[in-house]
């Protein structure tokens, strides 16, 4: 294959691939959807709104600001996210394949823009201002990357009717996806970069990467990470955070944060201290309570029960999306949803794992729960993509 052939795989392949929504049997005209998935996502968002209020009201009051200030914002973000999800569910996901190169260009442009703005502002900037709206491109990085990779995977060669990725495909995908990932890490947003890497890996596996390449890829990734550490490409504090969960240095702020988070969750007990009664939260011992450590807020104030409910709702989201992925009619749909699953699943594991001290401290949001508009909309977008795939799939298998 020539380079032109590989390049062609990013190009739109005409409208022939689009599929009409599958009507459910009961109501005419109604698009097949997944009410349980939507309900779980919305429930998580509702929990998030309450948790954001619980974790910010005390500090806002101390500053003399309306204690509902951030909560109100979170509600707005959730509404925007829900609309984005609904719109995405309506759009044929094959359209995404067609516009994947536009998506990729947008992603790169916005990431580069943050560097330009950042250099003008003489400091790291993660935000781009669109009128009154601030957008954090790195929050959308993973879900946009999903679209790009899925589009490529859907056009690969086949063996015995099954598509697989050659090592050249792998090289192209890596080349294409590592550029935004490195930009995100350089921002610096190590957490989002990590999520994107995991999403990439999962999509490659589902997209048909032979096992030996997967093994090689993991080994190469480990070597690259080792080299990055050795060559000092990572900031000292980033290393400290990544290693703090091992429990090495007690003095570092990362270890302190992890310790306070564990203490908050531990003191919650089975039923929690009660909503708005968490001492760690109210006395601001919990760092970044409304974003990175919101799971700790839930753990402290709502206890084991509350934390498990949040994990359970997240689990339902992953399960329903996995179900959609398996039933998807084509590899594009499967890989798309697989990316979304990886995004949500790994985010939950990393965020909650960090809060309970089994994962390194990396600032990534808890899906649908953490405060922040860009992240919330991005997660709803991921669910929207899954719903779009669901709408164009026949009867789902009973799982």
């Amino acid at each position: 294959m020539t380079i032109a052939d590989y390049a062609a795989r990013f190009r739109p392949q005409g409208a022939g691939m689009t599929a009409a929504p599958v009507a459910t049997g009961t109501r005419r005209g109604a698009v097949a959807t997944d009410p349980l998935l939507v309900a779980s996502a919305l429930a998580l968002a509702a929990v998030g709104v309450v948790a954001v209020y619980a974790s910010t009201r005390q500090q806002l009051m101390l500053q003399g600001i309306d204690p509902h200030y951030l909560m109100k914002h979170q509600i707005e973000y959730a509404i925007v996210g829900t609309v984005v999800m609904a719109v995405m569910a309506r759009i044929d996901y094959h359209l995404l394949e067609n516009v994947s190169w536009i998506v990729y260009g947008l992603l790169l442009a916005s990431l580069l823009a943050t560097f330009v703005i950042g250099s003008q502002a003489l400091g790291a900037v993660r935000w781009i201002q669109f009128g009154p709206v601030q957008v954090q491109p790195s929050a959308f990085g993973a879900v946009l990357l999903t679209v790009v990779i899925a589009a490529y995977c859907s056009r690969t060669s086949q063996i015995g009717g099954r598509q697989y990725l050659t090592w050249k495909d792998l090289g192209v995908i890596l080349l294409v996806s590592l550029i935004p990932i490195l930009l995100v890490i350089k921002q610096p947003d190590l957490g989002s970069g990590m999520v994107m890497l995991v999403v990439l890996l999962v999509m490659l596996v589902v997209g048909g990467l032979p096992n030996r390449y997967t093994v090689l890829l993991v080994i190469a990734g480990a070597l690259a990470a080792f080299a990055a550490i050795k060559l000092g490409l990572l900031h000292h504090y980033q290393l400290q955070r990544l290693t703090s969960f091992v429990g090495s240095s007690k003095s570092s702020s990362a270890a302190y944060n992890a310790q306070q988070s564990k203490a908050a969750i531990g003191s919650g007990g089975l039923f929690g201290t009660g909503l708005f009664h968490g001492m760690q939260v109210n006395l601001a011992y919990l760092p970044e309570a409304q974003t990175d450590f919101i799971f700790s807020v839930i753990g402290e104030e709502l206890g084991f029960i509350g934390a498990v409910v949040v994990l359970g709702l997240s689990g339902i989201v992953v399960w329903r999306m996995a179900r959609i992925a398996r039933a998807a009619r084509d590899l594009l749909g499967k890989v798309l949803v697989a990316g979304c699953i990886a995004l949500v699943g790994f985010s939950v594991f990393e965020n909650a794992g960090m809060a309970v001290g089994i994962m390194p401290v990396a600032g990534i949001p808890l899906p649908f729960v953490s405060y922040g508009g860009s992240a919330l909309v991005a997660f709803f977008l991921a669910v929207g993509i899954a719903l779009s795939v669901r709408a164009r799939t026949g009867r789902l298998p009973r799982v």
Binding site: L62, Q63, G64, A124, R126, I159, R162, Y164, P188, L190, V202, V205, V206, G207, G208, L209, P210, N211, R212, V215, Q259, K262, A263, A264, I265, G266, S267, G269, L270, M279, Q280, N282, L283, A284, Y285, P287, E288, G299, G303, F304, A307, V308, L311, S314, G315, V318, A322, A325, R326, K334, V335, A338, G345, F346, F349, G353, V356, G357, I358, G363
Partner: protein, 774 residues
């Protein structure tokens, strides 16, 4: 290995021949093994999935000779010897392990991803269960220690009242500036700005911040009694002073300034040794390193009552070290108040009269370095007024005394104003001591009241050959034939020289120390038992004292012997005898009331904050002097004569005194050392028939007693004529409430808290910035 049936994984039970057994050692040993894993077996699938198959195949391929692909491995199936090297190896791998290149099944892989996620989530649940259910207690403790600080709240101190309910030492609410230790550590520039505002040196603030005297959980006070202007400035510029707050504290307040300063004593921060002693002595009182403790006077004496019980407060402290709330605890209990016998007006009169007299004496050329006065009720021992000159204002102790202030109240050149000379200053009594000599002479029947002595103006010790043999009257007078009353009135020294000599000559009859014994009965040379700490007992000259002094300091007291001259001298209050003003007042009180020696008492009652009398302090009898009228009457006539008889030593001083309004009697005392007149005493009591007041005043280096002490005593009696001392009134509970009292240590609310709020917000913002770089 023998041939026979074997169980081969993936192939079931097989019968193996010899060759097969030999070739089949180890399934993965080499590619040439006869027993391949069946492609769809579970073990094979796992290895396949993990990529192990592929890696092993690679290794196996490299280990074998690539120039002859397939040989020795599986020769029968090496069908294409012409394939390139790499391909041959890959083919080898597929020979051994089947086709790893089998097209992937996305759904199966999706399933594996889902399983991985499920396992990860289960891990989270297990971890949560461990943290929140199994190990919950250890974390609760961390959180408690994080956010809850147990802090002692010092109670308002009990009030000290005069007998007419005037507040002598009360509580007032003062504002003090405190700095949080964490802020001072992270932002030292705050201290510099604070120093510029308050004028407190940075070094002093730093030493306080590092001091163990202050609780580690509370902000450290760096400035007390902060002016209102500074407080307002801090409020308005709160953002410049993160971690700085203004706290309200109750402090001692002295509405009458220096009045009764020595009696009241003072309160100061507890020292390490005091803390240990207090905790040992009274563990329930809740003394801590930041406690204040009464150090002298009534504050020290009645510390256990005045102190009250500190409250305990559970402070909620946020991550920035700011107190954001208080939760339940015990509230502090105000200390009991002490009502004194002291009459405020009389006290003020005594102080102004004494200082006025000293000023007058100094104008006349006397050094008049110091003085003291005591007014007692001889019938109960109640101390109605007591002063020591020079004095000071006890408010210098409030909020910590400065080095300069401390120097000022303890330096010799200033006359050590801190010293309470009324109880701790001892002076040679001079003729005032004749009280004891006369009583001894009469009660031992050395002389009868009618005994007559012929005063020639001097007394020569019979048979004396060396040293001082001739003793002159102090004023050089020669009164001729005199008896005891006139000898007392005129303070005729020769008469008493003679008594001393007679006691010495007849020591076989009267013992070695007849005068000393009587002096002891009057309380001379011993603590009076006054309810004040730091009392210094005087001493009565005696052979034993000489021995003891010589033994203690041979250089200063070279001769331990006792000579007739010593007996002569001690008879009229010279020699080594020293008496404190309170001893003098107590001794004359004993004579005045007919022989009962009471302990002088400053406090009259202890009153609870509810206005209930906890303890009423009853008169305490310390001893008796047998004073039948045969003894007391001639002596009383002599004391009266001192004031009324033209020959009396104080006649001139009391000329024009309204004697009929308050008849008084008294005795001068003039201590001399060579020709230097040291202590000038006058002790008077009245009314003569039923004495209600004993007034004793001494002024150091002020000439004759009639000159120095007597005018003050006269002024006091004149004051008492117009202002007789009333009974003790117990203040009511409403009087006892501290104005605007708030518990100490808690930041006041309102704008000032903005400073702490600001620092909180500041840190909050900084951490938020930290998150975005994460």
């Amino acid at each position: 290995m023998k041939p026979g049936f074997r169980r081969i994984p993936g192939r079931g039970r097989l019968r193996l021949g010899y060759g097969q057994v030999r070739a089949g050692r180890g399934r993965l040993r080499s590619g040439g093994g006869r027993f391949r894993l069946r492609r769809d077996s579970f073990a094979r699938r796992v290895l396949d999935y993990l990529g192990v198959t592929w890696v092993v195949a690679m290794v196996a391929g490299l280990a074998s000779r690539p120039s002859r692909p397939g040989q020795g491995l599986s020769p029968a199936k090496a069908e294409k010897p012409k394939v390139p090297r790499m391909k041959a190896r890959r083919r080898l791998a597929s020979r051994i392990f089947g086709r790893p290149d089998a097209a992937p099944k996305p759904d199966r892989r999706m399933g594996v991803v889902a399983i991985v996620i499920a396992v990860a989530f289960s891990l989270l649940v297990v971890r949560l269960y461990y943290l929140q259910v199994l190990d919950v207690h250890s974390f609760s403790a961390i959180v408690e220690s994080n956010g809850l600080r147990l802090v002692q709240v010092s109670p308002p101190r009990g009030i000290i009242y005069a007998r007419n309910s005037a507040v002598l030492a009360g509580d007032s609410v003062a504002e003090e500036v405190t700095v949080s230790r964490s802020t001072a550590a992270t932002d030292p520039s705050v201290l510099v700005r604070l120093s510029a505002l308050l004028g407190v040196p940075v070094s002093q603030m730093k030493s306080r911040l590092g001091s163990v005297l202050y609780s580690p959980y509370e902000p450290v006070p760096v400035d007390q009694n902060t002016s209102a202007a500074d407080v307002v400035y801090l409020e308005e510029h709160a953002s410049d002073f993160p971690g700085v707050s203004v706290a309200v504290k109750t402090v001692r307040q002295y509405p009458y300034g220096s009045t009764a300063a020595h009696v009241l004593g003072y309160v100061s921060p507890i020292s390490d040794s005091e803390l240990k002693a207090m905790q040992k002595q009274d563990p329930g009182q809740g003394y801590s390193a930041s406690s204040q403790v009464g150090q002298a006077g009534i504050e020290g004496q009645y510390e256990s009552y005045l102190r009250g019980m500190p409250g305990l407060e559970r402070l909620e402290v946020n991550a920035q070290g700011n107190v954001v709330g208080t939760s339940t605890g015990t509230s502090p209990v105000m200390g009991d108040s002490v009502v004194l016998n002291l009459d405020l007006g009389l006290q003020q009169a005594l102080e102004s009269d004494l200082s006025g007299e000293i000023a007058l004496l100094r104008k006349q050329g006397y050094p008049a370095t110091s003085g003291s006065g005591v007014v007692m009720d001889p019938q109960t021992g109640a101390v109605l007024a007591m002063t020591s000159y020079p004095t000071y204002n006890p408010s210098v102790w409030v909020g910590g005394i400065s080095e300069a202030e401390y120097q000022a109240i303890t330096s010799e050149s200033n006359g050590v104003p801190l010293l309470d000379r009324a109880i701790a200053g001892t002076y040679t009594p001079g003729s005032s001591f004749k009280l004891a000599t006369a009583t001894a002479a009469l009660s031992d029947n050395l002389i009868s009241p009618g005994y007559t002595y012929y005063d020639t103006g001097s007394f020569t010790i019979p048979g004396c050959s060396a040293g001082l043999c001739v003793y002159h009257n102090a004023a050089g007078e020669a009164l001729g034939a005199i008896q005891l009353p006139l000898a007392i009135s005129a303070s005729d020294d020769s008469f008493f020289y003679n008594l001393g000599y007679m006691f010495w000559v007849n020591r076989g009859t009267y013992g070695d120390s007849p005068i000393q014994n009587m002096a002891q009965q009057y309380g001379f040379g011993a603590l009076t038992g006054i309810d004040l700490p730091g009392e210094q007992a005087g001493q009565v000259d005696s052979p034993a004292l000489r021995q003891a002094l010589h033994k203690a300091d041979p250089a200063a007291y070279p001769d331990p012997g006792w000579y007739p001259g010593d007996s002569v001298e001690m008879a009229f209050g010279q020699g080594m005898t020293l008496v404190s003003p309170i001893e003098m007042a107590d001794a004359y009180s004993t004579f005045a009331n007919g022989g009962t020696r009471y302990a002088p008492e400053i406090a009259a009652a202890i009153v609870s904050p509810e206005g209930k009398v906890v303890t009423r302090i009853a008169p305490k009898v310390m001893g008796h002097v047998n004073l039948p009228s045969s003894i007391r009457d001639p002596m009383l006539a002599g004391f009266e004569g001192a004031v009324t008889n033209p020959l009396g030593t104080a006649y001139g001083t009391f000329l024009g005194y309204p004697y009929s309004s308050l008849p008084i009697a008294g005795k001068t005392g003039t201590a001399s050392e060579g020709h230097n007149l040291n202590a000038s005493w006058f002790t008077g009591f009245g009314p003569v028939n039923n004495p209600q007041y004993v007034v004793s005043v001494v002024i150091n280096k002020a000439g004759y007693g009639a000159n120095g002490g007597a005018p003050v005593v006269r002024q006091i009696f004149q004051y008492l004529i117009g202002h007789p001392v009333q009974g003790v009134t117990i203040p009511s509970a409403s009087q006892m409430r501290v104005p605007g009292s708030r518990t100490a240590g808690v930041p006041i609310h309102g704008p000032v808290t903005a400073s702490s709020t600001f620092s909180g917000a500041h840190a909050y913002r900084r951490r938020s910035a930290g998150r975005t770089s994460g």
